[in-house]
Amino acid sequence: MSTTAIADTGHHNAAGEHGHGDHHHPELGFLQRWVFSTDHKVIGLQYAVTGLSFLFFGFLLMLVMRWQLASPGQPVPVVGAFLRSVFGQTVMTDAGALTAAGYNVFGAMHGTIMVFFGIVPVAVAGFGNFVVPLQIGAPDMAFPKLNMASFWCFFTSCVIMTGSFFVPGSAAKSGWTAYPPLAGIADLEGGNLWLNGQTIWLIAMVFNITGSLLGSINFITTIIQLRAPGLTWMRLPFFVWAQFVTAFLLVLAFPPLEAAGFMQLTDRVLGTSFFMPTGLMVGQSVAQTWSGGGSPILWQHLFWFLAHPEVYVLILPAIGIVSEVVANNTRKPLHGYKAMVYSVFVLGFLSFIVWAHHMYMTGMGAKVAAFFQVTTIMISVPSVILLTSLLMSLWGGSIRFNTPMLFATAFLPMFGLGGLTGIPLAFNAVDLFLHDTYYVIGHFHYVVAPGTIFGLFAGVYFWYPKVTGRKMSEFLGRVHFWGSLITINGVFFPMFLQGMAGVHRRWYDGGVTYEQLAGPVLHWNKVMTVSAGLLALFQLVFIWNFFTSWKLGQKVGRNPWDATTLDWDTPTPPPHGNFDKPLMVYRGPYEYSVPGHPTDFIPQTEKV
């Protein structure tokens, strides 16, 4: 078999390039084809499936939290005993109710999992890996082996993070934000410096960040180097632009968090004091001592320097997906494509200079606060340009309300609500009242849940036929859509009411202790919990649809949506190397309803 491999290398000429049809690979086994593949489509699906699983897991964690908020101290119905046996006594009481520590574990892990193990792998790595090379007419990513390495680095982080639930003291419980000094001392009472939730969280994050960095380098290089002949920059589908900027955000913003992660790790295991201030008094004995001299604010700066660009990483791929779906289903070009391209770059740039709006309560002084307030307000401008362009793209369109379009259309007002509720938070004077309240939770969940996740659903329904050759059920899709839209608003809208009344984040008793302050709005807890439960049921519809359509869905050809972009010009499913003909691009990405043309769409490869 080694001779076969050598014979293969003999095929390749010194220049290293040749046509797609004229070489053959040895027959690949299951492992090489589906597990250790270097094909971007397989890797994209690996990321997507892993990410979707974690999204669901994070959702389940939140459901238990919501039960606790609506019925504080009550055992979780039906699955209480099961949860107790899985998560152990730190997290659940013997009766099957969530403990305070358990609430903190689920809260911290819900955030971490949804952001780093759910949305980013699905939106950036999953959709990005599968769709971007297709949309730019490339045979694969620029660095296929690096792509595979990135996935396995990410998968390692998944294993480690999941494993953190099963160490003594359970998983990290200091918030997804992991603020020291709490995160510096957390989980060290057990005596083991390494085998505890927070330490393992840090190690998992290092792997996750490394995988992300390697992946982003791949994306940027691919988009720059591997565009098909004729595919100039301004002929790129907007999804590619969105992924391009997202990759830059990841490459530049993640490393400071990796550095901070190392620092917190050494604080915990080596007793350094990067973040541990002098004179800290700890209320219980922990298995570590510190010299002091460190700064908790340093962590906040390093963390938010990443975490703010991170939120744009969460939204941009979804905006990209929505752009594709909207252009396709309105049968007209995107309105303001050029403005959108410039806006996404300005957004990317500005996202690096707004981070301290997460830190208004740290005593930064008026001048510094003024700087961040100004930049934060400025960043709403490109966001609004993007949203307005999408809204105006609907005007005068011949709209087809299939399931992807339903989700894409709903994304617009939902993202709008999320964005608008962010404006008050930009001002430190208002933030004084809203910081760490449910208002903030409502704001950012509107952007990621009925925002990004709806965008991702649109993408799944849209590209499913390209992956499988079958459409998902329209009927089930509509049930999923309407059910999710209504219940998701039921979960998140009351949060604004609670937040403005002063209900705080991370209170595990649902606000009962602060009855005097929050009494009038606490009943919404029950509404939100019931909505969350119903939301879960509607996701089951989606999961059923997803799996059964693979075998039972309506069979379609290579371009079921009559789309113009290159990804619909490949056979279904796209083979290794993607395209069955040499590519030359003559047109822009959204030539729909061109006057005088017999069909209402013109593929990018059609000669002028």
Partner: protein, 330 residues
């Protein structure tokens, strides 16, 4: 090993992706070059984050708690020169490859690898162990007057300098139960052997005995106010410090202070990058199919790989150019 690789990853030699060796005409780059520059951008942010932490912590440090002059400058200078030389030789190696001079390529690559190895050896077998064998005790502010002979705060105040709260040197006797007992014993024996004195170990069980550094032996001497290029020998003066006067005490390890925490983290991470670079160079130098083995079939591809690795190496060198003045000279 390469058998395993070719069995499980036949796409290792996947050449479908264009511009892996030839440059793309409009960008003028082959893909890996763009990739490595992007990677270096992320590394700039990584080390930038660490250096920002250094700045933040140094500015915020209470006077007297941020030491200087504790690192061996001549050794650091030599290491700097070694890395710079290796950066030059890697370029010579790449140039030799471009000119298809295999012998010269192997020679210069070997020198590069050896320089990197010497750098790491000096760091790991001399510099760091020397730190771990050096001890510092921070005196509580309220007890500092008792140890004025070693701290010299009157002189420092009179000359407008930051106070001194730490007594450093070799630990000769540690309180009972201290984790440094073993080290103290060794040092005490060595001290007795060197000086013939046996007053290092005191009968009291709760004190530190430190063979102090020159600066603590004569803290009011004006000569000790300025940095010195050549490291000075530890004095033979002993300081006996009661454990209750000590705020914190440890060897010069990451836990000692934010100064050493930053020093070890940055030089440690840098060292890992040096090691990574060495391993890549080794792979390209040894006759692996992806290394020198590639010379016969595709020398341009090998030259590109050496160029990429060289770029990474230059970055690693650049980081050191920042590390050296910041930690050793300032």
């Amino acid at each position: 090993m390469s058998n395993l690789i070719s069995k499980y990853l036949p796409l290792f030699t996947d050449k479908e992706v264009p511009y892996t060796v030839q440059a793309r005409p409009d960008t003028g780059l082959y893909s890996a070059k763009l990739g490595i520059w992007l990677f270096l951008a992320s590394e700039v942010m990584l080390f930038g984050g660490l250096f920002s932490a250094y700045i933040f912590l140094r500015i915020g440090a209470e006077p007297g708690y941020w030491p200087s002059g504790l690192l061996n400058v001549p050794v650091g200078t030599m290491n700097t020169a070694i890395l710079i030389i290796s950066s030059v030789t890697v370029v010579f190696a790449w140039a030799a490859l471009k000119m298809r001079q295999l012998g010269k390529y192997r020679l210069y690559m070997l020198i590069t690898i050896l320089c990197g190895a010497i750098f790491l050896t000096v760091k790991l077998s001399y510099e760091w162990p020397a730190k771990f064998n050096h001890f510092g005790a921070f005196i509580k502010k309220e007890s500092a007057s008792k140890y004025e002979a070693f701290l010299g705060n009157k002189h420092l105040e009179a000359t407008g300098q930051s106070p001194r709260w730490e007594i450093t040197g070799h630990l000769l006797d540690a309180p009972k139960g201290s984790s440094y007992a073993h080290q103290a014993e060794r040092n005490a024996e060595h001290f007795a052997h060197e000086t013939g004195r046996h007053d290092a170990v005191t009968p009291a069980e709760d004190d530190y005995v430190i063979q102090v550094d020159a600066v603590n032996a004569n803290p009011s001497d004006k000569d000790n106010d300025r940095p010195h290029f050549w490291p000075r020998e530890t004095s033979t003066t002993l300081a006996v410090i009661s454990a209750k006067d000590v705020e914190s005490a440890s060897v010069f390890a990451p836990r000692h202070s934010t100064y050493f925490a930053t020093y070890f983290l940055i030089t440690g991470l840098h060292g890992l990058h040096v090691l990574g670079g060495i391993l890549v160079f080794l792979y390209l130098w040894l006759p692996f199919p992806g290394g020198t083995g590639l010379y016969k079939t595709n020398p341009e591809h090998l030259a590109n790989r050496v160029e990429i690795a060289g770029l990474f190496w230059h970055f690693v060198d650049l980081v050191w150019i920042f590390v050296f003045p910041i930690f050793y000279l300032l």
